[in-house]
């Protein structure tokens, strides 16, 4: 199941030159770039693992692309996203966030039904990657 989270997620995957162009746009706006990865793309999982520190004061997308490439190499089977973070106003907010890497096979989610008192049922959505043992999740 194809995960659709963040900007551009209904489009075909961005090529590297398209990613570069988006990062260049973000830098031109004065945003800081960061790279994050996870194997658990649950919609409620808003804190992915950070790949290094956010990058401030970049002038060109090449530096951020270097980190994207390194992260892909380390976690080829994870979801990786690029965030553009705006602190120029004094308050801080995410302006742009898009997925730049997905696993070859996306296991998607399953619905878990928990039967409780009476005939009531509680539903929960679970990432299928969470079923795998810790050792298999890299």
């Amino acid at each position: 199941m194809r995960i659709t989270q963040g900007t551009f997620s209904y489009l075909p995957d961005l090529t590297d030159s398209e990613i570069r162009a988006q990062i260049d746009y973000a830098l031109k706006q004065g945003f800081a770039i960061s790279v994050e990865y996870t194997d658990e793309p649950h919609p409620r999982n808003c804190y992915w693992e950070m790949w290094g520190m956010p990058m401030f004061d970049l002038a060109d997308a090449a530096g951020a692309m270097m980190e994207v490439t390194a992260c892909r190499k380390a976690f080829p089977d994870h979801y990786i996203k690029v965030n553009a973070f705006d602190s120029t106003q004094g308050w801080e907010s995410m302006r742009l966030s898009f997925i730049v890497n997905r696993p070859p096979v996306e296991p998607g989610f399953r619905l878990v039904r928990q039967e409780i008192e009476g005939r009531s049922v509680r539903y929960t959505v679970e990432c299928r990657t969470a079923e795998r043992p810790e050792s298999g999740r890299g």
Partner: protein
């Protein structure tokens, strides 16, 4: 298109890139430095020719652009590096054309595992532009084999080789110490194609620089002060720790300070003329004249 007919107008390429402006500004704004200006013109010509060759589909690896600037302090290495970044940008060899100026402290960490992220962060900031490493020989400390500088050098070499399109590295420092540095780091020496040596300024050039600096600040020297400044330069040049244009700038800063004090001490209202003029006494009060 047959091959004989294919031609490229080099002058047009040069004009198109607006590089001539930068080269002319270099000639105009910087006093002396003839060999440096010559080398930069040659480098610019080489870059234009490489571009023309690429345009006609002639094979050849993209030119290696990493450089080393050697010379005594205050001879204009940083200023020229800024202009070089501009030239490279206009010719399309770097995408953004900014200059990131760093020293050992910005690259080398203080404990294990600190150096690599620090160096990488600087490299990322410099990408798309020029990384200027001042006093680069401090990166290599042979007396301490566990020095983290070596780690910074290795990362630097890797990026200089793999990301040639992304950044240009300029190493700068004293000539003799840079030579030692290159001898002990053959990897670094082999990746740097352009060595530019910055000569010391002559006394006349230093005077011209001083006049230029004062002119920019709306100051001028009276007749006695001109004489005094020439004498000051002659004396200061042979003293230790002389840093060429930088020493001159500091001397002028101190002269301006003394001028301000002198004007303050006199009760009479000051004229516009007096505010602009530096007198002989402002310069002759320097330690340089009394120390001998």
């Amino acid at each position: 298109m047959n091959e004989a007919a294919a031609s490229v107008d080099l002058q047009a390429l040069l004009r198109e890139a607006n590089v001539l402006d930068v080269l002319d500004a270099l000639d105009r704004d910087l006093v002396g430095l003839q060999p440096v200006k010559q080398r930069i013109r040659e480098t610019a010509a080489y870059l234009v020719v490489s571009k023309a060759r690429a345009a006609l589909g002639l094979t050849g690896a993209p030119p290696s652009l990493h450089m080393s600037f050697t010379g005594n302090p205050g001879t204009g290495k940083t200023t020229v590096a800024l202009r070089m970044a501009e030239i490279l940008h206009r010719l399309g060899y770097v995408r953004k054309g900014h200059l990131v100026s760093v020293t050992r402290d910005d690259l080398v960490g203080q404990y294990i595992g600190h150096t690599a992220p620090k160096t990488k962060e600087v490299l990322k900031r410099a990408m798309g532009g020029v990384l200027f490493i001042d006093e680069a020989y401090y990166l290599y400390r042979p007396e301490n084999e566990r020095d983290y500088g070596q780690e910074a050098i290795e990362i630097l070499l890797q990026v200089m080789e793999n990301s040639r399109d992304d950044l240009v590295v300029i190493l700068a420092g004293y000539k003799d110490r840079m030579d030692t540095f290159f001898r002990s780091n053959p990897g670094m020496a082999s990746r740097i194609a352009h060595h530019i040596d910055f000569p010391d300024y002559t006394a006349d050039e230093l005077y011209e620089i001083a006049a230029l600096m004062l002119g920019k600040l709306d100051y001028r020297l009276d007749a006695g002060a001109e004489e005094a400044l020439r004498e000051y330069i002659a004396k200061r040049r042979v003293q230790p720790n002389f840093a060429n244009a930088r020493s001159i700038r500091n001397a002028l800063d101190r002269a301006r300070l003394r001028q301000a004090n002198r004007l303050f001490a006199s009760a009479a209202p000051v004229t516009r003329d007096a505010l602009q003029t530096i007198a002989a006494a402002d310069i002759r009060a320097s330690r340089v004249f009394t120390a001998s």
